[in-house]
Symmetry: C2
DNA sequence: GCTCGACGTATTTTCGAAAATTTGCTCTTG
DNA sequence: CAAGAGCAAATTTTCGAAAATACGTCGAGC
């Protein structure tokens, strides 16, 4: 689920062919999932042991992650997991809305039949997984990753035809950033408390998009803002805001 | 002019304290200025000799530059300067407009007296340099860098109070990307042909901004689009678009 | 004449140790 | 008792060489 889609590094992506690439993917996954908590220092020796790598590929991966705002560093004091804060979450959310709104508008303008088919397919695949999980009752980690993957695909499909490599890449980056605060929340177990009907929201967004209605943009923005609100409410912050 | 403003890496920026940082700055400058042409492969051995460094800091710098779209790489085939194309320029321009329009709107909403003063000061400093250059008649490289620096500062000042670290960082990144095609054009010598009154455009943008008029956003977008058009027209492209 | 494989070279990627710098501690001094 | 100098240990950063991989050339086979 992690380093897959939306990375323009290796032509048609795939398995990490380089140790640096693998370090990047594993580190990113560990940060997103919360294995390394926000603010925690990332000591090179520890990482070297954990992943069985040498310094060079690790530093390269950390450098990359820093550019993506998952890691921060100070000159000679090493790296640490980028901190989370209310304002960071809000900034990420609003930026994501800005990017994806524009991308969605353009997609609706350019989108052809394949584009529509892609959206419908992704939506269906997402719902299958949701159903499967609802029936099973339990939440395996593997299921969760499958969910995330399909959720991501759905949102990618919406904006796929915006015809801007930059917007697509930014959207992917922001997806990962927001994953960082969505995922720990799932694990945290406030799952039952969720009165939210995400499937309905997704369907509404899809319908409006296929209709080429500007409502789609509004619904998408609401979707993201609601998510952010739920997350912010479910975390007790060290120092307010 | 290069690695200075807008980099959140070392608290209050400053001199490169690390070789990796210095490699990053020098490489970036060489790419932006056109020392390394678009598409040109960046051989590590050559870079090692040129900068007198070892592989590790070089690779780190290249990794960073790749995240900023100045460099591209393929798994085991090394790095090269990211290619330029009409569509890349257009994408960069339109993305920049999207980002800075939003940032400008927010700045106009939040901006206080200090913000206004910063804009006026930056505008004045920019004009001083323009005047100095007009009088001198010649274009030293150093003057050009001073110009770029002040130009950058002016555009930063406009959006400085948008209250979004992400938007500011994206704007800075896109500034550098567009620098890449603006600068070689200056050197190229089509300078005399420029019928454009950039100073007037800047003044109009500033005035509208201080008035908190939505015209500011339109003027800014026009400003960037016009720049892109001029550049695109002045380059003969290998394969059309 | 063309394709394909083997081989030597060029280049990238990774490693482990050396150098440089920070951090924490102790001991002095005022 | 606070402030600071001086060390030792921990950590990051850099290096140069070793390993892995891609590239180009040449020759054999069809």
């Amino acid at each position: 689920m992690a380093g897959a889609a939306g990375d323009r590094r290796n032509a048609s992506e795939g398995e990490p062919v380089t140790l640096g690439e693998s370090a990047y993917q594993r580190l990113r996954a560990d940060i997103v999932v919360g294995t390394f908590k926000a603010g925690e220092p990332l000591r090179l020796e520890a990482l070297r042991q954990r992943y069985g790598l040498s310094f060079s590929p690790l530093r390269e991966a950390l450098m990359r992650l820093q550019s993506e705002r998952l890691v921060s560093s100070t000159a000679l004091r090493g790296f640490s997991v980028a901190p989370l804060s209310r304002s960071e979450i809000e900034d990420a959310t609003e930026t994501r809305i800005l990017i994806e709104s524009e991308a969605l508008r353009r997609s609706m303008r350019n989108g052809d039949d394949d584009w529509e088919a892609g959206i419908v397919a992704a939506f269906h695949a997402l719902n299958l997984q949701v159903e499967r999980q609802r029936v099973a009752g339990t939440v395996e980690a593997a299921d969760l990753f499958a969910m995330e993957e399909r959720h991501h695909h759905f949102h990618q499909a919406l904006i796929a035809h915006c015809n801007s490599p930059r917007l697509l890449e930014l959207a992917d980056q922001l997806y990962v950033e927001t994953q960082r605060y969505r995922l720990p929340n799932y694990f945290g177990g406030t799952l039952g408390k969720r009165r939210r009907d995400a499937a309905a929201e997704h369907r509404a967004i899809m319908d409006a998009t296929l209709r080429r209605s500007d409502d789609a943009v509004r619904l998408l923005a609401d979707h993201y803002r609601k998510t952010a609100e739920i997350i912010e409410a479910s975390i007790e912050w060290p120092t307010p805001k």
